[in-house]
Symmetry: C2
Subunit: 341 residues, 2 copies
């Protein structure tokens, strides 16, 4: 089968790889209907983090049809169209039951599988995959694929930021996750949604998703603008969807004392001074999003065409064009790239 | 009037100070019935943080009788016996209304007033002071005084750790705040309360307050013990009541993914690595405790003799003996010192 491999920074190739097969009785194999490139794939592409193996199979987002199941799999069957999270989970341990499937005691990071490929082995299929109500129309594919990571991650960020009626929510980051957080905050009923963005096209999509205010300033200047817009108090909650030192403090300082910061940008070089944090008085919660918690609801919202998160994809390429997709995202010519199969 | 002044590390004196008087129409003056020495008073005593002025009036915990009120004060009257928080607050701004009075937009840290004294000026009296149902019996004084800071701080830590029925709560720190957190977790219905302690007398009080398990190991060894006691998962919530790098990570690593860390130890030299924190998946919330939020309930529980937090005081001295009180706490001969007036 064909799949994407990264050999080092800037070096992405589409190659023949060993076929995906059942290894454990709890596995399923799916034929991908679409895959995509994640902002987090850019960290090793830019040399900002090492590869775990060389070459490394890439990709952790996926939708597709089940082609084979292991002997113990009961919740999905061959032929089902499924969506899964970027972290495989048993969905039965106490951590999963509390809604933190991404930290399941048996979790498997799907990045180790590599879903930018024709087929993929899905570990813990019963706890990981959610079948759609039927075979989806083609125009739903981008949105269902978004649910696999960026939508679910933005959703978790908005939930962690306690977005809800009467609330002012700020969003740091105008990438696919930040934009998904806008959509989530709107759906959760936030009254005012303030987005930090300097890109006209992303500002426009943010407004379409529900943003009420756009701030172009960054860092503490940006946070000061949020305070100015909120009677000096700051946002009730803020989603951090970047992962740098500046963006993290921008999020914390945009939030009022007692408010909520949901941080979902994978932290790179972030150091939080304990005393500074102490006096902000915010709630800080984040980490790898437990997308599986939200999948049934998100799939239904997409199926009913209530939300259209697939709009975050602004470049579509065949799997064989993956290298160009990485370049386009690296050079910010694309927000998020969908790979067709 | 007599009051405690700190001239530098290890140098505490009781001296004549200018009388407390009404400055703003929102002020009250109280005659202290008792005051005490806080663990946080030891930081400058040990040279671990600078004095804000030299000499510095000391103390921020207080109970007493109102002797004078400003023209705008309506909620308390001369003769009332009152308890207040270590942070004065207007109790009307949006931050106060959300229950974060310690971060009130008009907050005044009572440490700048210095309540280890015969009298004290209380700013924002209407929003800060809570009158008891009547003049208290003498044996209630220690508990009412504890409510002014350590009890309310431990309570906030336990609430931030989401202590409640069915929950396992770990407590890092066996000082007066940590012990108060044990009492709070018990009152809030926690099923299992695990306390880290190496001191027999504090272990004994912890058990009296509701601790079910004691762990003597510290750091990651201590956290590993909590995991061992909880089926490999970790505590549902943990209170951090020390404020060092080791204690902070001990608390975080004692907590399961998706769990809650309430940190109320004033951070000294704590640096949190963003990526490490990201993958723990915990909720982190803390800061200067909004004691005012809890005061009406805590006063009633004490008045009804439902709780007896005054047991955290294990040395009582007259105000004139303050220097010996500081020495006893510094040398760990006392957990918490009450100063009589």
């Amino acid at each position: 089968m064909r799949g994407v491999m990264m050999y080092g920074p800037g070096d992405v190739r589409v190659e023949e790889r060993a076929d995906a097969t059942i290894v454990e009785p709890t596995d399923a194999v799916i034929r991908l209907a679409a895959s995509c490139i994640c902002g987090s794939d850019l960290w090793p592409y830019r040399g900002a983090e090492p590869l775990s193996v060389t070459p490394q199979p890439m990709g952790h987002e996926y939708v597709g049809v089940v082609t084979e199941i292991g002997a113990d799999v009961k919740n999905v069957k061959v032929g089902d169209f499924v969506v899964g999270s970027f972290v495989a989970s048993d969905n039965t341990c106490e951590i999963c039951e509390a809604g933190y499937q991404s930290r399941c005691i048996h979790n498997v990071m799907m990045g180790s599988v590599g879903t930018q490929a024709e087929y993929a082995r899905i570990p813990l299929a019963d706890g990981t995959l959610v079948a759609t109500p039927g075979q989806p129309d083609a125009d739903l594919l981008p949105s269902l694929l978004a649910a696999s990571d960026v939508l679910g991650t933005g959703w978790f960020g908005a939930v962690a930021a306690e977005a809800g009626p009467g609330k002012t929510i700020a969003i740091v980051g105008d990438g696919a996750v930040g934009l998904s957080a806008v959509l989530a905050a709107k759906h959760l009923g936030a009254e005012r949604i303030i987005v930090f963005s300097r890109h006209a096209d992303r500002q426009e999509l943010a407004r379409r998703f529900g943003a009420t205010d756009i701030i172009e300033e960054r860092g503490d200047d940006g946070a000061a603008k949020v305070k100015e817009l909120t009677g000096g108090y700051g946002a009730h909650g803020t989603v951090e969807a970047v992962g740098t030192q500046e963006s993290m403090w921008q999020a914390i300082h945009s939030t009022r004392a007692g408010g909520y910061v949901g941080y979902v940008g994978v932290s790179h070089g972030v150091k939080l001074d304990g005393l500074d944090l102490f006096f902000t008085g915010v709630h800080l919660h984040g980490g790898p999003a437990p997308v599986r918690r939200f999948l049934p609801e998100l799939i239904q919202l997409i199926w009913d065409r209530t939300i259209d998160p697939g709009q975050v994809f602004d470049l579509t390429l065949p799997l064989e064009g993956a290298a160009e997709g990485y370049r386009a995202m690296d050079e910010r010519r694309a927000t998020k790239v969908l790979l067709t199969l």
